[in-house]
């Protein structure tokens, strides 16, 4: 029962800071940080408790019972959830500490901490959910917190627009998610994981007729429809193509939340979903293929765009999109363990990279364009070296955690059949691109001569300890998590389709070693090419850009996806809204209401005419009335 405190401590912090933030102000961290640290300690306890394979189940509250349907709020912690708990509490805790320095002196200090606490609470409840409805409620809740935090500096219209965009794009996915949940309750009669999983195999043969409303006949397996609809939610939340467009714009928010929400935790909820529902997905091979291909497309697209962006946060954002694609691809090919492993290591090094960007941004007074940076590696050594470690982990450099997890994905992918081999090759290509853009970021931002205006920025120095210590911890984690035996830990809970308890990191056969060497070579090649292009021959990038202009433009303009959406979705919707406003709201509704008023006024004017002031007219009226009454009396 004590485990209920894991989410409740941050929730209490949210309530206190939300209600009393106005008076707490710059002491807000004194409420928020201990709460998260408390959650972390309890998560360690939970982790230890489930390490031997047990599952903790806590029933908190029966929400409603209706006939046969029973909806409860409860917690379920198994190894997967325990690993996620640690990820969320550690990254959230480090971000809390980092924020003390980053948001120091800002007006919205307490409000920021209250929303981050709310987010932490929601994410923890999502991860520990034991039924679909609770999952969905907290799925939406983290989306809400994302909206609130992206728009933290709400005086900026671009921030508000980005927050709205994130929420709406998420909503598109969530629509599919909700339909999936409805279908689950209709097919299984229950929303709890344990009931659904145990009955899943029974539903394997059933199918739905999708064209029934229009009198046609197209039978699809029910489980596949469920999994596909739920995956739509994951597409939105985890920024997969085509719903990836909100994540780069979410960089409008403060950097600490870019690190927490848009790198380590919220966006990983989609991958977590697929892994958590592995028993269902294992029974729908068609949907798994869709998941894998979507992940692969996202992986390549994200990396291709990150190559040319100039805003340092956007490079890291597109990198996140790409890495999420890796994870989703792994899950789609049945390598859930590898996918979650990468999720955990990525949480460490991606948060590190974002926080490193934050240090640079703060040190240079909110300069984010890499063309105006440079020459920082001697002025900000801690930031520089931790950033390099993060970039190495991202590029899959040997001995970092990223190396082990990315390698796990590629090896498992290769051994997953024909499609797996093709996607694994794309994974190798993307590893090359990843190494290239990561070190492009490092070299352009930190090396070379300073290109910033030192009049404007003042002396550039390392930020405070509250900001550098989290960087150091995350750098250590980016290396250490490779050696903790994570795959073996997760394997017990996440088995791929069909085969039981296969040893982790699949087959250590010749193909696996070959792949490992190829990936390493490719990664080093990427780093080398970046060195060549940005340190040795600085005119090389421009020459390449001019030579392959169409490709460069596609990459720089993000494959024109936003423009396509604007033309096909946004503008028609705005036009429809305008028409409805003019014709229906003003033309019909307002006209009706005003019309009623006008009619009554007209009738009143008409009635007024009777009052002529002449007594004889009134006498006439009386006479006519008397005659009528007499007539009625005589006739009836």
């Amino acid at each position: 029962m004590i485990y209920a405190l894991i989410p409740l401590l941050p929730f209490a912090a949210f309530l206190i800071l939300g209600l009393f933030g106005h008076w707490i102000r710059e002491r807000a961290h004194l409420v928020a940080v201990p709460a998260v640290l408390g959650s972390f300690v309890l998560s360690l306890g939970a982790f230890a408790a489930v390490a031997d394979g047990q599952t903790i189940s806590v029933l908190l509250y029966t929400w409603l019972t209706s006939g046969d349907l029973r909806i409860e709020i409860g917690l379920m912690v198994d190894r997967l959830a325990a690993a996620m708990l640690l990820l969320v509490t550690i990254v959230s805790g480090l971000v809390h500490v980092y924020t003390i320095g980053y948001m120091h002196g800002e007006r919205g200090y307490a409000r920021f901490f209250s929303y981050v606490a709310l987010f932490t609470f929601s994410m923890l409840m999502l991860v520990m959910a034991d039924n679909f409805l609770q999952l969905f409620v907290f799925w939406e809740a983290v989306g809400l917190c994302s909206y609130l935090l992206i728009g933290h500096w709400y005086e900026r219209p671009s921030a508000c627009a980005a927050a709205t965009k994130a929420f709406i794009v998420n909503r598109v996915g969530d629509f599919g998610f909700l339909l999936g949940v409805l279908l689950v309750v209709l097919s299984f009669g229950s929303l709890e994981y344990r009931h659904v999983f145990s009955q899943a195999a029974d539903l394997a043969g059933e199918s739905l007729n999708l064209l029934r409303p229009v009198g046609g006949n197209w039978e699809v397996p029910t489980l596949s429809v469920i999994c596909l609809l739920l995956f739509l939610g994951a597409i939105g939340k985890s920024a997969q193509v085509p719903l990836h467009v909100w994540l780069p714009d979410a960089m409008e928010g403060p950097t600490p939340i870019s690190a927490l929400i848009h790198a380590a935790t919220m966006v990983t909820a989609g991958v977590f979903l697929v892994a958590r529902l592995a028993p269902l997905y294992n029974l729908s091979p068609a949907v798994m293929t869709i998941v894998a291909v979507t992940g692969a497309v996202t992986m390549v697209l994200g990396a291709s765009i990150a190559l040319t962006q100039f805003d340092i946060k956007r490079v890291v954002a597109y990198s996140t999109v790409s890495q999420l694609g890796y994870m989703m691809m792994a899950c789609g090919l049945g390598a859930y363990t590898a996918g979650i492993y990468h999720l955990l290591t990525h949480g460490a090094f991606k948060a590190l990279l974002f926080l490193g960007c934050g240090s640079v941004i703060i040190a240079l007074h909110h300069e984010q364009d890499m063309r105006r940076l440079g020459g920082l590696k001697d002025k900000m050594p801690v930031t520089y070296w931790t950033f390099v470690i993060g970039a190495l982990a991202l590029s899959g450099f040997p001995l970092t955690a990223g190396f082990f997890s990315k390698d796990a994905i590629l090896v498992e992918a290769w051994s997953a059949g024909g499609l797996g081999k093709i996607l694994a090759l794309f994974g190798v290509l993307t590893a090359f691109l990843t190494a290239f853009y990561s070190f492009r970021l490092v070299f352009v931002t930190f090396w070379g001569a300073p290109r910033y205006d030192s009049q404007h920025t003042g002396p550039v120095h390392e930020p405070s300890k509250t900001m550098t210590v989290p960087l150091l911890i995350l750098a250590a984690l980016s290396i250490v998590t490779g050696y903790l035996g994570v795959p073996a830990f997760l394997q017990a809970v996440l088995s791929p389709p069909g085969i039981e308890a296969e040893p982790p990191s699949g087959s250590h056969g010749p193909a696996a070693w070959g792949l490992m060497l190829l990936t390493t070579a490719v990664g080093l090649g990427g780093i080398g090419l970046a060195y060549l292009a940005y340190v040795r021959s600085p005119e090389l990038p421009d020459r390449l850009a001019r030579q392959w202009q169409r490709a460069y433009r596609l990459s720089f303009h993000k494959w024109y996806v936003d423009e396509a959406y604007d033309r096909t979705v946004v503008r028609p919707t705005v036009m429809l809204a305008d028409r409805l406003w003019e014709r229906v709201d003003m033309g019909v509704i307002d006209a009706a209401v005003n019309g009623v008023a006008r009619t009554i006024a007209w009738w009143g004017w008409l009635m007024r005419l009777i009052q002529s002031g002449q007594a004889q007219h009134y006498a006439l009226g009386m006479t006519v009335g008397a005659v009528l009454l007499l007539g009625v009396y005589l006739l009836f």
């Binding site: 009052q611 002529s612 002449q614 007594a615 004889q616 006498a619 006479t623």
Partner: protein, 100 residues
């Protein structure tokens, strides 16, 4: 005997004449005259019925009605004089202060 209906018809003719006079004429004094006509028409009616039913009540009522009519005329004329003093006209059409 003269049938009752003749008296009733006479009474109604006189009444309607008076009524139409009230509604149509523009001279206040003529209107007052028409009102008197209506009152007297009802008196005729009362007397006719009293004779027909051999009941004195009708004729007693006529006494009261006549008295009231006389008092009413006195008051009515006083009002007409007050109106004339105020507006210098006895044309009813010009008294429309209470018009909308």
């Amino acid at each position: 005997m003269i049938p009752l209906s003749y008296y009733v018809i006479l009474s109604s003719i006189v009444f309607v004449t008076g009524l139409v006079g009230v509604l149509i004429r523009r001279n206040i004094i003529i209107i007052l005259l028409s009102v008197e006509l209506m009152l007297n028409a009802t008196n005729i009616n009362f007397v006719a019925f009293s004779h027909f039913f051999q009941n004195m009540t009708g004729q007693v009522f006529v006494f009261f009605a006549l008295t009231v009519a006389a008092a009413e005329v006195a008051v009515g004329l006083a009002i007409i004089i007050a109106l004339y003093r105020s507006k210098n006209t006895i044309n009813v059409d010009e008294f429309q202060l209470l018009k909308w």
